[in-house]
Symmetry: C2
Subunit: 242 residues, 2 copies
């Protein structure tokens, strides 16, 4: 256990830079805040260092820091008691069904979708380059630490879908859209590439052209659409029932 | 169309106070931000006054204001172009099925649940006194304006449930819990009182004692629970299929 008391310490300055996407990308690291998230990340052996207000011991280099230092490292009004310096997830080859997110903008929505993906056994997630950063602290908090088992890739969607369609697996590309078929009346194909669009605009024109079939969640006429995380979760839930 | 240019104007000071729950409660008013929300509220004849940066005309008293004034009235980094001063919803007697929210804390979750309630035809919502304020600007934004047709009541949950059970309708009280019956294998009773618990703790002890049957959403072992708004939405979706 090391002790750091100055907010001007070089280590603290380094960790603080991980609040910026640019540094996270360069270093391949991000911060996870709070006991629950740190524990989840430890299970997957992704934590490099731990900063804590307490004198808990961990199996990785641990730094006891001050409340002032915690404040410098978080955007939360109440700073966490523990922060982990965590390695970014590795991107793996995609085998089997995939959830594709086309420009999801809200960090809370992305985090919630990832949590539901784990719950409903959707192992592969592809984010468009325009999606909010996966390692944005608000995204990470919204996952409640339930995203580490996923294979999450950020890439151009059209090339990704075209590549998958060329593979030996016979993918069906399905898009969520209010004019699609009732999800209660279809049988989910396997493997499927399930596409969820942006919160305001839905699925972009280019990606729309790659879609084989559209699916909708039946709802009341009062309501034009659901929250994107709710739509994605209900579709993954329906698929998990097959 | 009136013009106001000073942030010190008495009207501006009054509107600004509506950012506080206390004033919202005293005045029975709240602010809705952005074109979409204002239009939705106008459909339900709930808007008393409109403040706008533009020279649009509306059927209610309209004030053209400055960007500085807008900034004073919102918590958003990019101030909206239009704000409506809106009457709070009236509470009506509860007839038929009800969604009961026991200490939902996150404004985004509450807003998302209300939007899903409209989508899936759940007309009555009961909030525990410990739920986040319905008129919190983040709650309102998360509804995307889709909550005006609901009957939303804030009251003590145990007394509410006991009162409904004494009524002529034969209510079944159902709680969302990971140890309940698989929602895919049950037939939803009608009318139902469907209870969703707090994001961290689930349903409180006192409310738990009023529950007739528990229901769960089947999921992967990796995942202990879903986001509360996702759980509530999937259960309302399943109910809407009956």
């Amino acid at each position: 256990m090391y002790k750091i008391e100055s907010t001007q310490n070089e280590k603290v300055k380094y960790w603080s830079k991980l609040k910026d996407k640019k540094t996270r990308d360069e270093e391949g690291l991000f911060l996870v805040e709070g006991d629950h998230l740190v524990k989840e990340a430890l299970k997957y052996h992704l934590i490099k260092e731990i900063l804590t207000l307490d004198d808990n011991s961990y199996d990785v280099p641990t730094y006891q820091v001050t409340n002032e230092i915690m404040k410098k490292l978080t955007e939360q009004q109440t700073p966490p008691r523990v922060i982990g310096v965590c390695q970014k997830l590795k991107e793996h080859e995609v085998l089997g069904s995939v959830l594709v997110l086309d420009e999801i903008q809200d960090p809370g929505n992305l985090g919630t979708i990832l949590r539901s993906a784990v719950a409903f056994g959707m192992k592969n997630i592809v984010l468009s380059p325009t999606c909010v950063d996966l390692y944005n602290p608000k995204v990470i908090r919204s996952t409640e630490g339930i995203f580490f088992p996923l294979n999450i890739i950020r890439t151009d969607l059209v090339s990704f879908i075209e590549k998958q369609k060329m593979s030996n697996e016979s993918y069906v590309v399905m898009g969520a859209d209010m004019n699609g078929e009732d999800v209660g009346k279809i049988i989910f194909p396997e493997p499927v590439i399930l596409v969820i669009g942006n919160e305001g605009q839905g699925i972009s024109k280019e990606v729309r052209e790659c879609i084989d079939t559209f699916v909708r969640i039946p709802m009341n006429d009062f309501c034009e659409s659901l929250n994107a995380a709710v739509s994605a979760s209900i579709l993954m839930y329906e698929r998990s029932k097959r």
